[in-house]
Amino acid sequence: MKHSKKAVIEMQFNWIFIFVVGSVILLFFVFIGKSYMESSNMKLSGKILFEIDSIMKGASSSSKSSSELEIPKLELGFTCYPECSEEGCDSGFAIGNTGVNKPTPHDIIFAPSEIKSDFLYTWTLDWTSPFRVGNFLYLTSPSIRYVFVYNEDYSMSKTMAEKIYNLFLDNEFITVDLYSEEELMDDFEATNHKHVRFVFFYTFEDDLDLDIGKSDFDLVIFSDPNPNFNGHVLFLSEDMAAETGDFDDSVGYFGKESMVGAIFSENQDFFVCNMHKAFNSLERIFGIYKIKALYLKTQAGACGGIYENFAAFPLPENFQYPSSFEEGDYEKISSLLKSMSSSAEKANKNAIFNSCPRLY
């Protein structure tokens, strides 16, 4: 059948028209669909983030508690950079690369940089100095294993490793093992954990030559553990583990809670950042107790003298945890915290002894 020239042009025009209009309609729906997907992903991430934030707020409100929380299996990323000010730190957590994040400039959260699991383990410990400063929140996941190592030659190493190990046993969810150095080298059993964190309670300077299966690992070294739970800690990544640790790079920890914080922190920067937040809290709470001591001093009549020393305690202006430890920094902070503690303890003891109002 032969079409006329006019009919052929008409048909071609119809096809072009259908093609153009069809493309426009298709593009329109693709655009709508894409924006809907993006907005609902953002909305979902925001909702999940808000829920996780609520869970963490709840967890950090109750001290000495541990829990296992079922969460959506999304990549939960934590950041905390050590450049802090009294306004807080550049810190937060986010879901994957969605761009939805929750800033946590003041919340003290010791965690790995990434958690991708169906479960989130939370643990809180109360930091006292000696008055209650606040809760430290520790986060981890079932894919991380903690291996504590002590050296039989140093009794303090074993004592401290056992103390921290027993503390960890309070949390039934975390996978933690205790080895002596000898046992570690001879009988270490690899598991299928994604990550293994070796925690040494002595100055470990050898190569860590172990078969740990498919897991990746890193090291936390407490070079001089002592019963006061104060000392130096060094963080070594898997690449750095082959080298001898440079203890000049270590940072200070002050108290059992910060020692545990180091064990849970992704790296040194993460630890320093959270310690900075902790010190900000300490400065703030100290301010409250100092004013309380001033009230007690003026109003408690015969009891007044008891609080005088604490009320006059000279905590330096802008008392902060240093971003990097220079020579003498650790000793300076340590002695300052010690004298602040003993001043508060003395005031409280005397208050109890003389039937006066307690400071804390």
């Binding site: 028209f17 808000f50 409100s61 306004e87 807080g88 109360d126 209650r132 301010g287 004013i291 309380k292």
Partner: protein
């Protein structure tokens, strides 16, 4: 000028398209309305959760909580700590503290109300405005959630407890 058959056909197709897009627009407007309604509901839910989170924070603040040898006493706030907190908030030299609490309690107001004092004097006037960080007043706010948390207020100097509330007002 007389219209050809094909011109009529194009006109017909264009009309169909216009009607199609009109229906689509009506659909989109309807969808947008539903979505905005859901968004308002979500915002209300968010605000309610935010209030609960804030209530939890204020209840467990070491700045206010009573302690015995550094062990916290639940549902108890220390009167001297309340006064110390208030003094810190009024200290213009240390604005960073105010900013810290402003971040913790955005668009919110915290008041301590004393409802029953068994012995002696209590809080002057029966209430203390602890912290006011509201961006809008009650009239202009799109929503206000008021939450009262019952607590005991411990006065360490008189060694006495009284009943009261932490009243948290969150504005949206």
């Amino acid at each position: 000028m007389k219209k050809t058959k094909s011109q009529l056909k194009i006109g017909e197709s264009i009309m169909v398209l216009i009607i199609f897009f009109i229906i689509l627009m009506v659909g989109l407007v309807f969808y947008a309305k539903v979505q905005s309604h859901i968004a308002i509901k979500d915002a209300e839910e968010f605000n309610a959760k935010r209030t609960i989170d804030m209530a939890l924070s204020v209840k467990f603040m070491p700045e206010l909580q009573c302690t015995v040898q550094s062990t916290e006493q639940f549902d108890c706030i220390d009167l001297l700590k309340i006064n110390a907190f208030k003094a810190i908030m009024l200290n213009t030299e240390k604005q960073s503290y105010r900013r810290y609490y402003a971040r913790m309690f955005p668009n919110a107001k915290i008041t301590i109300k004393q409802s029953f004092v068994p012995f002696g004097e209590g809080i002057e006037g029966g209430e203390i405005m602890l912290f006011d960080n509201t961006y809008v007043d009650e009239v202009n706010a799109s929503g206000v959630i008021k939450m009262s948390i019952p607590v005991t207020i411990f006065d360490p100097i008189r060694d006495s407890n009284s009943f009261g509330f932490i009243v948290l007002d969150t504005y949206s």
